[in-house]
C-alpha cells in the first residue's frame, strides 16, 4: 500500500529542511500525526509567526524582529568598529565571547563559484554603503570569516573592496586554542601560530 497523499506531502515538505533526510522526515511526520491538535497548532503558529515577524536588519543584515537589530540600536556599543561575519550564527558566537563591543555586518554566505556564489550573491554592497555614508572618525573593520578556503577568499574580497574607502582592516588571528598544550597541536596550526606571533617585549 502507499501512504495517503497528505502524509506524503508532509514528508516531502519536511525532508526539504536542511539536515533532514527522508527517514527523519518520515519520523517527524508520524510524530506530528500522533501529537495533540494543540501541539501541532503551536508549532505551525510558531513557524508562521516567526516568518512574519523576523526580517533582516537593514543596517547589518542580522536577523531581527525589530526595525533595527539589538546591536545596531544599542547606543552604548562602539560605533567605530564593524566585525564582518559569514552567517547570523557567527554573531551569536562572537557575542558569547563578550570580547566584542562593536557592530556587525553579516554577509549571508562565503564566495564559492562551485556553488554559484559570487560577489553578487553575498551582502557586501550594504557594507560599502554603510561605510561611505558615515561621518566622523574612520572605522576599523575586522574580518571574521572562517578559515576555510572559501572564508579566506571572502575575507580577501572584502578587504580589496574596502581598500578605496580608507578604513583600517584587520583579520582575526589564527593559532593555538586557549588552554591547549603545545605538544598536542598539529604542525600546521603550530606553524600558523608561530608565523602570526605577537611581540611582547620591545627593545
Amino acid at each position: 500500500m502507499k501512504y495517503p497523499n497528505s502524509l506524503i506531502q508532509l514528508i516531502r515538505e519536511l525532508s526539504r529542511l536542511p539536515g533532514v533526510g527522508p527517514k527523519s522526515a518520515q519520523r517527524l511526520a508520524f510524530h506530528l500525526f500522533s501529537s495533540s491538535d494543540q501541539d501541532v497548532k503551536n508549532l505551525s503558529d510558531a513557524i508562521l509567526e516567526a516568518k512574519k515577524i523576523l526580517k533582516l536588519c537593514p543596517v547589518c543584515y542580522n536577523i531581527t524582529d525589530t526595525d533595527l537589530c539589538a546591536v545596531c540600536s544599542d547606543p552604548t556599543r562602539d560605533q567605530d568598529i564593524i566585525c564582518v561575519v559569514e552567517e547570523p550564527g557567527d554573531v551569536i558566537a562572537i557575542e558569547r565571547s563578550g570580547e566584542f563591543e562593536g557592530l556587525y555586518h553579516v554577509l549571508h554566505g562565503a564566495l564559492s563559484p562551485m556553488n554559484g556564489v559570487g560577489p553578487e550573491q553575498i551582502k557586501i554592497a550594504g557594507l560599502l554603503e554603510r561605510i561611505q555614508n558615515r561621518e566622523g572618525a574612520p572605522v576599523e573593520v575586522i574580518l571574521a570569516t572562517s578559515t576555510t578556503v572559501e572564508g579566506e577568499a571572502t575575507s580577501m574580497f572584502v578587504q580589496r573592496s574596502l581598500e578605496p574607502l580608507g578604513v583600517n582592516v584587520s583579520r582575526i588571528a589564527y593559532g593555538l586554542p586557549v588552554g591547549g598544550a603545545l605538544e598536542y597541536a598539529d604542525e600546521v596550526t603550530l606553524g600558523r601560530a608561530i608565523a602570526g606571533r605577537r611581540q611582547v617585549t620591545k627593545i
Binding site: 563559484p113 562551485m114 559570487g118 560577489p119 578556503v149 571572502t154 604542525e187 600546521v188 606553524g191
Partner: protein, 347 residues
Amino acid sequence: MILRSLQTLNYRHLEAGKLEFPLGLIAVVGGNAQGKTNLLEAAFVCLTGVLEVSRVETVIRLGELEAFVGVELEREDGISKLEVGLAKGKKLAKVDGVRVKTADLARHASAVLIRPEDADLVHGSPSTRRAFLDALVSKMSPRYAQALVLYERTLAQRNAALKIGGVGLEVWDARFAELGAEIMRLRRRAVNKLKTLTEIAHSNLAGNSKKLELNLVETARLEDFQTHLSEKRREELARGSSAIGPHRDDLEIKLGNVLALDYASRGEARTIALAMRKAEFDLLKEKFGEAPVLLIDDFSAELDAHRRKFLLELASSVPQAIVTGTEAPDQASKLFKIENGRLEVQA
C-alpha cells in the same frame, strides 16, 4: 620499522586471520594469482592509508560490504597498532584504538612498496609522477600536505569562476598564486634531494653509460606567479580551467640526454623507477630516523641478475623486508608459501 603482524578480513581473497612476521628477508612464494600482491598491498594500505577511494570497493572481497586490515608495527619507541576499515566510499583509520584521519597514518608509519607497475612512473602520464611527488613530499612536510589540500580546493573554485566568465576571479588568483608558490618552493627543495639520491641509485644500478637526470618542469613562474596568471587570463577564460600552476607541472626524466618517456625501454623504465623508489626509501629513512617497512612485489620481474642483486642487497640491508616472487631468492632468511590467499610458513 618492523611489521610484527598483519591481520586481514575480507581483503580480496586473502584468508582471514593474523600472520606474524619475523625479522630478516622474508620471501613470500607462490604462483600467479595466489595473493602475493594483495598481501603486500594490504600491508601498504594499513601503513600509509594510501588507497584511492575509487579502488576501495575493488579490494573488498566480492559479496562482502566491509574489509579490515590491521598491523602491529614496531618502531624504535615501541609497538603500535594500526588499523584500517574499508567500506564503499569510506576509509576509517585507527592508531592504538584512537581514530585518526587516514592521511595521518603516514605520521606513525612509513613503507615503501616496490612493484613492476612502477615502470608507469616513467612511461605514464605526468599525473602519475605528480602523484608520486605529492605523496612523498607530503610525508616529508606536513606543511606541504596542508598546502596541497588548500590548493586543490582553491583550484576547483578558481576553475568554477573561470567557467562562468571570470566573475570575482581576482580573489581566487591571489590565494591560488600564494599556495601555488608555496607548493613550488617545497617541491623544489624536495626534488633537489630526490634528484641527487635517484641519480646515485641509478648509476649504482645501471652503471654510467647512460646518465639519468631528473628535473622539475614548472608551468608557472614562481617569482611573479600572479603576473603570469594575468598574462594567461584570456587563454584560461577560453578553456575554462587553470593553465599554469603546480597541478600542471611534471617531473621530467631524461636518460642519456633523451626523454625517458619516449625512448626508455621497459627494462630501462623499471630500472629508473627502482632508483626512484630507492631514493624514496632514503628520504623516508632520513625523515623518520629509521628505515621504512620495505615491501617488494615480484622481485625478479623484468630485472636482470645485476639489478636483482641490487634489490636484494637493499632488502638485506634493513632489519626486515618482505619480498614476493614465483621463486624464493637465495638470500631469504624465512620462507612463506602463499596458495589461494592462504599463507603458510615453510620449514
